[in-house]
Symmetry: D2
Subunit: 278 residues, 4 copies
Amino acid sequence: MSQYRVLIDAYDEKGLVHKISSVFYNNDLNILSNNEFVDKENNKFFMRSVVDGDIDLKSLKKSLEEVLPKKSGIEVIAPKKKNIIIMATKEMHALGDILVRHEAGELEANILAVVSNYSDLESFVTKFNIPYIAISHVGLDRSEHEAKILECLAGFKDIDYVVLAKYMRILTPRFVEAYENKIINIHHSFLPAFIGANPYKQAYDRGVKIIGATSHFVNNNLDEGPIISQEVIHVDHAYGWRDMQRSGKDVEKVVLSRALKLALEDRIFVYANKTVIF
Amino acid sequence: MSQYRVLIDAYDEKGLVHKISSVFYNNDLNILSNNEFVDKENNKFFMRSVVDGDIDLKSLKKSLEEVLPKKSGIEVIAPKKKNIIIMATKEMHALGDILVRHEAGELEANILAVVSNYSDLESFVTKFNIPYIAISHVGLDRSEHEAKILECLAGFKDIDYVVLAKYMRILTPRFVEAYENKIINIHHSFLPAFIGANPYKQAYDRGVKIIGATSHFVNNNLDEGPIISQEVIHVDHAYGWRDMQRSGKDVEKVVLSRALKLALEDRIFVYANKTVIF
Amino acid sequence: MSQYRVLIDAYDEKGLVHKISSVFYNNDLNILSNNEFVDKENNKFFMRSVVDGDIDLKSLKKSLEEVLPKKSGIEVIAPKKKNIIIMATKEMHALGDILVRHEAGELEANILAVVSNYSDLESFVTKFNIPYIAISHVGLDRSEHEAKILECLAGFKDIDYVVLAKYMRILTPRFVEAYENKIINIHHSFLPAFIGANPYKQAYDRGVKIIGATSHFVNNNLDEGPIISQEVIHVDHAYGWRDMQRSGKDVEKVVLSRALKLALEDRIFVYANKTVIF
Amino acid sequence: MSQYRVLIDAYDEKGLVHKISSVFYNNDLNILSNNEFVDKENNKFFMRSVVDGDIDLKSLKKSLEEVLPKKSGIEVIAPKKKNIIIMATKEMHALGDILVRHEAGELEANILAVVSNYSDLESFVTKFNIPYIAISHVGLDRSEHEAKILECLAGFKDIDYVVLAKYMRILTPRFVEAYENKIINIHHSFLPAFIGANPYKQAYDRGVKIIGATSHFVNNNLDEGPIISQEVIHVDHAYGWRDMQRSGKDVEKVVLSRALKLALEDRIFVYANKTVIF
């Protein structure tokens, strides 16, 4: 007897809950938790159930396919550690937060490796017995550098998520498409404010009273992918932009770790450049 | 075709969602939103659905009774304005917030009257064409005073909620039992810290860095009823207790109005001295 | 014996605090509170002191002028109620919050009048015995309409602040210059995100997880004036844009009232399109 | 030319700022920042200045002593890394947050050692090249165990702060007095709510909608020392107490690290069982 997560997205129509819960009932499953959302504007139905019972994943999926509209998204997931790659540049805070959580056993994840364009973080990462792969961008154009990273990642099978823990280079469409809706970034501003470079300097110049951070899936428009989580802190006139940057780090790491947790627990649906999060 | 709210609480057992959604389906109802929660510790199941269709309230309730365990709580509610009594003493902020919302048409409620033990707020309340009833406690013991208020309230039929908008007197069990789980209070602290009189003074003396407010249903233990909503703000050493009191008012009114809104929208279940809020 | 607020901004140089506190000491004034800030980037010094004593405003100002650098800003203010004009359109929440605070005696302000381009709020405002002046824009171009409002405002002497409590029309440079750093607006987004029309719709479309409000002084660039205060609330996928709008109202009113309070207490310095707030 | 922090607390009297700033001026010091607070209730004056110049610490202190009331607290501090001992039990999150900050060079501190009553965290701590000292309490009474720890700590000279990063044992007065106002604890509740053991269980049982954490100096009354920092997060009915515990960890580590930073930057005054924080 085990717990499974069932994720369904479908075009909405009358009776979906009835049909789905009938399948659960007929398979003698107990519903431990259930979340549903209907987006009227797009006529879309989303459901995440945690069920408990003795089941065959494929046959449960098949039963659901039989009652649901064609082209519905149906996933039946046996909880297990997901495989993640972390990419970073030189900063330690967001990466360190994930590594400590991993070390503490809080994370449903295997960290396959940390990949960076610098070697600065190597001694830090290897403390945790996690492979560190430095792939320098020096002397390479963006495309060449990325090709080397992609080649490196291809050496790992079953990468569930690529986590950009302050990886300070822009990814090309080629990379993004290779890991569609699997790349989680932390942007150091409250998006869509302060897109692009040095958002803390932008925030300082604008004289804002609140700064924030945004975790989002990466798509091909810079800082415009589906938002997963956001958080803010109050600042005042006494904060120079470096003070904002320092304080911002605490928000960045919290928001990125929160987004990663949601992803690892299969709580995120992506559609229409937005997320539904249960 | 109309929308109805269906509230169900039951002892949990396998198949509840299936049974309930079957009833909806067989009655040709569309589920607009659905919230469920299972409290494993107490083996309790809670569900709030908003359904859309052409229904007879009593027959829907009957159909649900037939499939649900005995002693389940089942309510089928056609949304309409609820009737509320507001009780206040001398302060204007929490009361005023509700009156302005009411005036702006934001509140699903008829305010039957404002009842106070003073006449201070009369000219303020009557601006809004709402009856103001001053029942002085002077010269009366608690029981006599309450008897007069209860007599007054008995003159209104179908009171859904009694809202204590900074009503600064303690209610006796007799009053509380007359309106069980219908009295919503705002306590000016982050409960359970600082129960009782002058919580801001208590907070100041303790040197806290955060103050808060708590809305809760009233039961027979002072400030110990089921909590509906809480909110806080940061303070620092420069706040005297009167500054805390002043700033606290902004939290109090927000929290009370939020709790009232949840109640009016039939989003609160009460059990085990707690609330489940959808 | 009374309390006075002394506001000083000057180009920074060694000894400013010494010189200012000497003046206070020589005038036999007690410092009740003192806030200072030096903006290194712009080499600017800001100080707000509350002093207690028997003083002549002009002679104290003159004494300060003698010790401070030329062109320093020096204000000695005897606390009294400031005169404000509120401008609104049709919405009641932000306006109502100010009116109730005024009624409760919480505001250091006389509300001279509420001016609107519609008559919708008249019966609401006049409840509070505050003059309501409707100046319709119908049939007038922006400039003609504003001319009428400016003419109306010219009839009031000593207007300290013009508060835009959801006044939904853009002011021209002519208006802004007439009341430079005296017009306080509430914008219903977390600026600089979602400048311009219908920010909640913009926020919804972007799929943000937090919405906010920003109070700022108005300058000639839409929504780009110096920010006074900002606040946010969390939202999720279940919020349509109208839900965001509804929830946002609670933030808007809090932020506008907070900004107004800061202005009435002479706590705001404006420079370099930013604010220093003590 | 260097920066110094000057901390003064004194009984308030007219002219203190004048006298202090005169000393700064006569010593040719530039004031970089200045914070003052007068507690009227206790007639106490607090000031923290950061000054810049070529000074002799002892002579500056002497000059200040000459102008200030007898028994004033006067500290002139040349910023340097402070020496801290961290005490922990088995949990990694709060400890790890400090270790990563230290590793990232964010902390103005030397971590002399981590002391624990278990050896569980040894491999984690020694990754960071920080001495780990396990002093088991097994078979010892509280007093014997503490004597061993005190003996151990006595081996380090110049301990500035002892940081209890989820050290789950109660300290005796003997220990507390040895490090008065030098022991910083994190309590996993929003004090004064839920003093004592398992506050998350207490919070869950009470049905609160917000949980928090409190960092405070340790005195001889359990969880009643001067509060340095507090933070909260919202929870709902779906949180079991273990969920609260998990989520609470993120607040705990943030609040403890924030308090430690304030202490390391000499920003905290303690008096009347409260803190003044600049």
